[in-house]
């Protein structure tokens, strides 16, 4: 009777229409198995199992460990830096200004290890660091390969990776008597080395591919596979080297502890341990294989990256990175602070421009020059103008003067030009002159363009100056030089330049007129302390009592000359007028393509919105995140446990369950399917010669599910486990389903049940 009721209940359960919105589907697997950072499930296997079920358990276990990852959605962003990023490095400064005085460690970039290595059962502390303190940011115009462009200069020896031993170790081998039995395995920049001896400021290491070879499992190096098929324990081994096509290219007999070169392949193989049966069958041969002569290598205090062959100290796979050591003074010992170094030694100094990076071997880390600390620049253009008319600043309808020649100062970022006083910001300013009635008499007008009246406004009141070195003291300033009523020979107007009028840093553009000079006008850009850029504007025509001169840049109109633009870089003044590239002057003023604009008699330069600095990073630059993109991040969880069906209690049933095995071998499966254990054969409801995966909701606890993974035979269960393992590729076509029949671990082998 009980069986009948159970069967009826089971039939009811199976036949009962479940509201699709409530039923969990494969599209939700395995998300519903985790709750708030906890693996909210148990995996239950039948107390009676087949060997094939072990395989299934491994498949599922490795896949469910995926639950340790959680998917997060992130907002769009630029490329993320993993490591340290600083945007306060000077234009001419060493990276010793980075935190840690330029020595990068684990707390700057987690890719650098601060950990332990194990040797003969004991742990020893070590840490990795990269010294970039000698790398410089530079913009010197006089240095070829820099030419005034901001660059990261990396000279030979400037970047040094260091593996630092933080704990003393004694008992390893020496250089003359290496210890092959207990090598110290360390990873330099992700490449493994086995230290077998130390002393005399040297270390002896095994390097290359390290592994155990048998007659069927090779240790590979490049295109070659190294096997061993015959030998005697702790004595010798026959080594077979095959090429990528599987052809035997060399056979060597090597004693344990010895190495041999393979002339056919250019490899050296060193055998460190032989395990074999009494008939010579190899159980395993521990060996190291690498380029000839480099498998066993002694490194000293210099890193030779120019020699070839055995003299070369190049890091494996690299040409410009060499290995050397610091310390290791005592044979057979490692002292605290001993270092193995991998030093970057390019044959020529490397100059990185913005956006470029130096990548350490094995892509272990990057040192990158990202660019400026700001994207906000105002471009200022100074150009000669002529025959202009100016109106009164107090009444724009009142004409003050016409036939004016001089310079127009404009900007692409509105309101970036200000007067000497007044606190107003404009987009266009003027420095104009008009000839007078004596040979050196001129009237100078400093004014601004008025957007509302669309006129150039100047002061209608003329200030009479005396002497030299006069400076304008009013926003709108008009002065007479060498006039009949005054003796002043010159006047300078310091226009303020500030990004949009609100930038953090103010520059000045000083425009000076000297009526007694052959070059009436001078233009200088000052960063607040020095005139860092000087534009040599000159008269194109002569000043006379009847003619106001026009201007040009340099000695020849419409052509670029070297001396027409002068810029200070790294505190030295250079003539940069013929430079086709932008020149970064001291103070952060960027002279834009002086040769190009000089040919058009224009002075064009950029001012930054704040003190210009360089942005650099050490670590890794990730891919730019896409808006709404999904990224996997590790999220701590509470792990699940596996249980036998006989161990399951009410506590376990309060969670989700993955039941592996059919109702014939697993009590929980039977219970979940509403069957009486053991339900075998047709009674199991499993499709014959197939398997089923079924999500059954609310079996033991409301809101919790049982995922049944059950096969007709153990092998069918195994196949179903493989499907569950690869749920993200094999179950996509049935994502909206809760039960499938599995005949093969392919999409076509999975059909709706």
């Amino acid at each position: 009777m009980k069986k009948i009721i159970a069967s009826l209940l089971a039939a009811l359960m199976l036949a009962m229409p479940v509201a699709p919105a409530l039923a969990k589907t494969f599209g939700e697997f395995p998300t519903f198995l985790g709750v708030d950072g906890t693996a909210d499930y148990y995996i239950v296997v039948g107390a009676a199992a087949q060997p094939a079920d072990v395989v299934g358990a491994i498949d599922i276990a490795s896949r469910l460990a995926e639950l340790s990852y959680t998917t997060v959605t992130v907002a769009g962003a630029g490329a993320a830096i993993e490591g340290i990023e600083r945007d306060d490095i000077g234009l001419y400064a060493a990276l010793s200004n980075l935190p840690g005085s330029g020595v990068m460690k684990n707390f700057h970039y987690s890719g650098l290890k601060d950990s332990t290595f194990t040797w003969r059962g004991n742990d020893y502390d070590f840490h990795e660091q990269v010294d970039v303190s000698n790398v410089y940011m530079r913009h010197d115009f006089g240095t070829s390969n820099i030419n005034g462009t901001e660059k990261m200069e990396i000279q030979s020896g400037d970047v040094v990776y260091q593996y630092v031993f933080d704990e003393a170790l004694t008992g390893t081998g020496s250089i003359s008597d290496p210890n092959y039995t207990y090598p110290i395995y360390v990873e330099l920049l992700g490449t493994q080395f086995a230290i077998v001896g130390t002393g005399s400021n040297q270390i002896k290491v095994l390097q290359g591919s390290i592994g155990t070879a048998t007659s069927t499992t090779p240790v590979t190096y490049g295109d070659y596979s190294i096997y061993s098929d015959l030998g005697a324990s702790d004595s010798w081994a026959r080594i077979i080297i095959k090429d990528s096509a599987g052809n035997t290219v060399d056979t060597l007999i090597i004693d344990q502890g010895s190495s041999k070169d393979s002339s056919a392949t250019g490899l050296t193989v060193k055998v460190t341990k032989v395990r074999a049966l009494t008939d010579g069958t190899i159980v395993g041969v521990d060996l190291v294989v690498g380029p000839r002569g480099e498998v066993e290598k002694t490194y000293d205090t210099s890193a030779d990256t120019t020699s070839t062959g055995t003299a070369s100290d190049r890091f494996p796979g690299e040409t410009d990175w060499g290995i050397k050591v610091s310390g290791f003074s005592t044979a057979g010992q490692i002292a605290v602070g001993d270092k193995i170094e991998v030093v970057y030694q390019p044959t020529e100094t490397v100059y990185l421009t913005a956006g470029e990076k130096l990548t350490l071997p094995n892509n272990y880390a990057e040192l990158g020059f990202e660019g400026w600390n700001t994207d906000d620049f105002a471009t200022i253009t100074v150009r000669p103008v002529s025959s202009l008319t100016a109106y009164s600043q107090s009444n724009p309808d009142t004409l003050v003067a016409s036939g004016l020649n001089g310079l127009e100062i404009s900007t692409d970022v509105s309101s970036s030009i200000g007067g000497v006083v007044g606190g107003n910001w404009y987009s266009k300013a003027y420095a104009l002159i008009k000839h007078g009635n004596t040979p050196t008499n001129i009237t100078v007008y400093y004014g601004f363009y008025d957007e509302s009246s669309q006129k150039i406004l100047v002061n209608s009141t003329v200030v009479v100056l005396g002497g030299s070195s006069n400076t304008a003291n009013a926003e709108y300033f008009t002065a007479a030089l060498n006039g009949t009523t005054g003796t002043g020979t010159d006047v300078t107007y310091p226009f303020k330049l500030r990004y949009a009028g609100v930038g953090d840093k103010t520059f000045t553009l000083r425009v000076k007129f000297d009526s007694t000079s052959s070059d009436i006008v001078d233009v200088m850009v000052n960063d607040g302390s020095n005139d860092q850029v000087i534009y040599d504007f000159e008269n194109k025509t002569a000043l006379s009592t009847s003619s106001t001169p026009e201007f040009r840049l340099g000695t020849t109109a419409s052509s670029a000359q070297e001396t027409e633009v002068k810029a200070n870089t790294e505190s030295t003044q250079y003539n940069v007028g013929k430079a086709s590239q932008d020149v970064v002057a001291d103070g952060g003023i960027i002279v834009v393509a002086p040769a190009t604009y000089g040919a058009a008699d224009k002075a064009v330069f950029k001012i930054p919105a704040k003190e210009l600095k360089v942005k650099v990073y050490f670590g890794k630059m990730g891919a730019a995140a896409t808006e709404g993109g999904e990224y996997k991040v590790i999220k701590p969880i509470t792990s699940s446990v596996a249980l036998l069906d006989t161990e399951v209690t009410a506590t376990h049933k309060a969670k989700n369950i993955i039941a592996v095995g059919g109702p014939c071998v697993n009590r929980i499966t039977a219970e979940a399917l509403g069957l009486t254990y053991p339900a075998c054969g047709a009674a199991s409801t499993i499709p014959e010669n197939a398997a089923m995966i079924k999500i059954i909701d609310d079996v033991f606890t409301p809101g919790k599910s049982v995922v049944v993974v059950a096969g007709w035979e153990a092998e069918n269960t195994r196949t179903a486990c493989t499907v569950l393992q690869n749920y993200d590729t094999l179950l996509t076509h049935v994502a909206d389903q809760s039960a499938v029949k599995v005949t093969a671990a392919t999409q076509t082998g999975i059909t709706v049940l």
């Binding site: 395989v55 460990a65 395995y185 155990t212 701590p636």
Partner: protein, 185 residues
């Protein structure tokens, strides 16, 4: 009257001290006798099938660190779980223990930033298993084939042995304790 009051106060203080001591001892022994089944590593809470304290007593030869070195080693690319068919009843132990080993080691490898695969191998004999530096073998030896409870390393093979089902379970936990560097105070 004054003497009586002093005697009463002393008695009260003594009783209070005794009570506090008793409560402390009860809590101490309660905690000490409670099974420890979970351990936190880098924010991950690893839950185990059995008491870590009991498992901690399982001997490891030659050392616990040797187990760590065999499994948590940058050369390791794959771990094979080897077992000998022990019949339906004890095969189920293999299934459960294999899940435990693979699941927890996979988590730990992820914490360590290592990519290590797993597979299994049914063997006829536990002799001369082909363990390799890059592919160590964890040989599960069920009670049917074991006359000791221990973890033993021979070359690149780690044997996990249990005389009884519970001890086999504990031995697997001990293996994981060694690999995950779980040290109980």
């Amino acid at each position: 009257m004054g003497k009586v009051k002093t005697k009463l106060n002393l008695r009260l203080i003594s009783m209070l001290i005794f009570s506090v001591l008793l409560i402390y001892l009860i809590i101490y022994f309660y905690q000490a006798s409670r099974p420890v089944t979970a351990y936190q590593i880098n924010g991950f809470k690893f839950v185990f099938r059995n008491d870590l304290r009991k498992a901690n007593k399982i001997p490891v030869y030659p050392s616990e660190d040797a187990v760590y070195l065999k499994l948590i080693n940058p050369i390791v690319k794959n771990v094979t779980i080897a077992f000998k068919d022990a019949g339906e009843k004890e095969n189920s132990l293999y299934v459960v223990e294999s899940y435990e080993i693979v699941y927890k080691l996979t988590l730990f490898y992820k914490i360590k930033g290592m990519e290590v695969g797993f597979d299994s191998m049914q063997v006829d004999s536990y002799e001369n298993l082909p363990g390799k530096i890059q592919n160590p073998i964890i040989a599960l030896v069920s009670p049917k084939f074991s006359n000791e409870t221990a973890i033993r390393i021979e070359d690149h093979v780690i044997y996990v042995k249990g005389k009884t089902k519970e001890e086999f379970d504990l031995a697997v936990i001990k293996l994981l304790m060694c690999a995950l560097r779980i040290k109980l105070e």
